[in-house]
Symmetry: C2
Subunit: 203 residues, 2 copies
């Protein structure tokens, strides 16, 4: 089975158990003749692929009564992958979603690590510091890098931990966030697992 | 007593019990011949005022062993105003500081409301929404405006509440944040109260 998660700048492929990335600019759909299942947040590519018979958009198989209409399809797929638990997708934004017995209990969207650091830097040159991921998030800070790190991460980490277990972490910054969250399951395949579950359900 | 809190774009005056604002561009120090006590984060104006005898920079009276050297002077003044409690200064950044028996226990810096909303908007047009201050921050969200509001505010509000009481709220967004924090003391004079306490101590 060939799966593709199409973003605005990159495509994530899952082919024969292997992950790979491709830039949108390097992508030519005519190079592919096999059956491909995909999700997409890229409106331009979605409308192009609609006319190609071998490209199947999985979005149509989602029971949208469980979710909300403007919810990102990648979040929905990660939710479909699990029965109960908390999902943290740490990418350009950090999305947090709660599932209970296959029902969607809602979620929230925090800024991503890079986005937050950029926003601090925009506020003042004094705050244009990198986060200190070694800092103890349980105590108050007494220097600027620690103050912005604790200010952004401590509230978020506490909140996520308060939502229950198990916690699944995925996305580009999963390796950075996971140690701060403690006992979690890092799973870079979560979105693809949700896609596979959905495809098998409708097959 | 005339007090002035000098920022990068505005000056906040406290004269005979009355607050007023002035734009930095409209400010001419030579218009003032009276004794003025001030704090400043505006390096350009600080160096200009240093040469004027009637302008007294209160920063020199601070016992900096209690704080840290790069800590904003406005945060230090708010800390000087109280003996014990949590101070939330909701401006372009939201600073949170903890005092216990006149000792500084540290703090953190979160993004300000406007800064956070701008950062969401930069991530995606889909997230360029205004925060919904009517949302219930204790539950997970099921639409985009609520998801970014809960994502930014719920962790922060929870964290501040966990730090103890009383909670003092000051700054331009104090009226917006205070209701979310519950039982708090809104005090727009906190920084000036700290300045007065410090002046009286050295007099």
């Amino acid at each position: 089975m060939i799966l593709c998660d199409i973003g605005n700048t990159t495509l994530d492929w899952y082919i024969d158990g292997k992950l790979s990335k491709q830039r949108v600019n390097d992508f030519d759909p005519k190079e592919h003749t096999e059956q491909i299942y995909y999700i997409s947040v890229n409106a331009k590519l979605s409308s192009l692929l609609k006319s190609l018979d071998n490209w199947c958009n999985i979005e149509q198989f989602v029971d949208w009564t469980k979710y909300y209409s403007t919810m990102g399809i990648d979040r929905v797929m990660a939710c479909e992958a699990i029965n109960s638990g908390v999902i943290v997708d740490a990418g350009s934004a950090i999305t947090v979603d709660v599932m209970h017995d296959r029902q969607y209990n809602g979620g929230f969207i925090a800024l991503g690590l890079r986005s937050a650091q950029e926003a601090y830097g925009k506020l003042s040159p004094a705050l244009a510091k990198s986060f200190n991921f070694e800092v103890d998030l349980t105590i108050m800070a007494k220097n600027t890098p620690d103050a912005i790190t604790v200010g952004f991460l401590a509230p978020l980490i506490d909140k996520i931990k308060s939502l229950g277990k198990p916690i699944y972490v995925t996305g580009g910054d999963s390796k950075v966030l996971a140690p701060l969250l403690g006992d979690v399951i890092v799973d870079d395949l979560l979105i693809f697992k949700g896609m596979i579950k959905l495809i098998e359900k409708v097959d």
